[in-house]
Subunit: 333 residues, 2 copies
């Protein structure tokens, strides 16, 4: 059988092609009974409106975009993104909006991806992995693309874009004060790359709270960098008794390395991570971590973007604070 056409649907539903089209584009009110007839005819024929034709007609792509500039190994280590993505998709699905995802390698490819998206492929983008002085902000302005930034502080307030943010300093403060209460004085931090707002915010808060950056080491979110930074810290003349890592992958690798060197966790070394990976509560010992509510943040971000595509003004939205999941890797609370 050939692909079904709008004429087939109209014939089966006993209406005109124009009526079928109005059911789907919403340009004219249609009675519930007619709507039902048309939709069940379309379903039984496996017909849907042609999205390209429809998108051109209403000047909409019915799609939003995400561009990720990440190395495959970093992408595979990150559990925040897939859960965030699931949250985004639940909202998009309700509105029949597609997600266009592009994983790029390098600055030029990233710019080209946004440019292509701006030329009718999507109606707006979600911007992740925000950098300090992110060059994408002026680019997106120039491209006149709707955008919502997923941020780790309220830095983007005056940049003309919506901003769905969480306070990334608060959990660091809570973790440090918990470790201080337990008697720790030499508390280290293994951060992510400092160009990222989230890594920077966490590290800045760590330095301010501890009053020193002596025990700060910069990783890159991979397991390997977790091992290297831990090795460096534990081999120093005055090593830390506790380490807070900026993600769970580095924390897990660091914890395992310390164990392999004979350190008992948490007796000899307390360890905490960030993002609360699904595996973290099942490690030995279970890992204390920061639960960042990625699913909910994905939903809020997508809601915000769709509102803006429909004409709402940019807005800064603070999401609910991250919670610490205290587990055995930091000892009894």
């Amino acid at each position: 059988m050939d692909k079904p056409t709008i004429a087939d649907v109209a014939r089966l539903a006993g209406v005109t092609k124009g009526t079928v089209s109005h059911v789907y584009n919403g340009h004219r009110p249609i009675s519930a009974a007619t709507k039902k007839k048309v939709i069940s005819a379309a379903l039984s024929l496996d017909w849907s409106p042609n999205y390209n034709a429809q998108a051109l007609a209403v000047q909409r792509a019915n799609a939003v975009g995400i561009v990720l500039a990440r190395d495959p190994s970093v992408l595979a280590s990150d559990t925040f993104f897939p859960i965030f993505l699931s949250g985004v998709e639940t909202v998009l699905a309700k509105h029949g909006v597609a997600l266009v995802l592009q994983v790029v390698n390098g600055h030029e490819m990233e710019c080209e991806a946004y440019r292509t998206m701006a030329q009718g492929r999507v109606d707006g983008v979600i911007v992740l992995d925000l950098s300090r002085n992110d060059y994408r902000i002026p680019l997106l302005k120039k491209l006149q693309l709707n955008a919502v930034l997923a941020d780790s502080c309220n830095s983007s307030k005056d940049r003309g874009f919506s901003n769905v943010w969480v306070d990334d300093r608060a959990p660091i403060k809570i973790l440090i004060s918990h470790l201080l209460e337990l008697g720790h004085r030499r508390i280290a931090h293994v951060s992510g790359p400092m160009q990222y707002v989230h890594s920077y915010e966490r590290a800045q808060c760590y330095i301010e709270t501890m009053g020193s950056g002596e025990l700060l080491r910069t990783g890159d979110f991979t397991a390997n960098s977790g091992v290297e930074c831990t090795k460096d810290l534990l081999s120093s003349s005055n090593p830390p008794t506790a380490i807070i890592y900026s993600n769970d992958v580095m924390a897990t690798a660091g914890l395992s390395y310390a164990q392999s060197q004979g350190f008992k966790i948490p007796e000899d070394l307390a360890v905490a991570g960030f993002d609360d990976d699904p595996i973290s509560e099942h490690l030995n010992p279970p890992l204390t971590s920061v639960y960042t509510n990625a699913f909910k943040r994905g939903q809020i971000t997508a809601d915000r973007l769709l509102a803006e595509i429909n004409g709402a003004l940019p807005e800064s939205v603070e999401t609910e604070p991250s919670r610490i999941r205290f587990r055995a890797s930091t000892g009894d609370r």
Copy 2:
């Protein structure tokens, strides 16, 4: 400034609008010098051809789709998919083809996603998480959608679709023979859900090689199910001395649970996983696992789909065999 138009690009490059359009749609030969002028004019103005208009003109969406029917926690536990995706994207980027990704929940939403994709949103799809007697096969045929199946055996040979597959039985055989050589006789297997071809193939091969399914337990790829199956196996009257898990997340959770119960790994219990997560070589002890070359498989699958969109006939492609990464969790080889 308003969005740049094709007229702006033509003016800046000193050519007609028709010439600009031919540079991008490739319908007429254009000299290298003219092409260069047009492309640099377009770049300096941040202009790209409108993909919706272009797609309609050539009857192409310039996009391919992936529909994932997965729970967020399973999505977050799976490192195969993000690495596979990176491989897919490197190929798509070279050809200016976008990826439309839809994460769905339930059968109805999944069917609707494929139907929408078939109506002009994409030119073809990549089908993952293949089930035995997958209902998507007849659906995709009915929708007349180009599709490439990522499979774990050559089951899809006669189904009329391209099939990029790897032999998922071979690594199970190698792991079992390795454990037998080390003296293990009670070797267990924790599988994924049996409706998936990959889980089924691995479990079937395990039963055939061991001659019994007594020590087979069915998990669901989550850490939690890894713990539950391990608990069940270790508390039996004649427990196994080795466990092969169908992914690294279940293996890591199982290994940690066993350690928490006082089992020494590998002395009291040998443990092996599947997928070789980036964290696995950094665990304590490092985890023996099956490296499945997800990046390369993503590239081959995308290449195959683009070839088919351009008129090539369906083909079955076997990818290079998975390799076992032997590490301390199974003891010395």
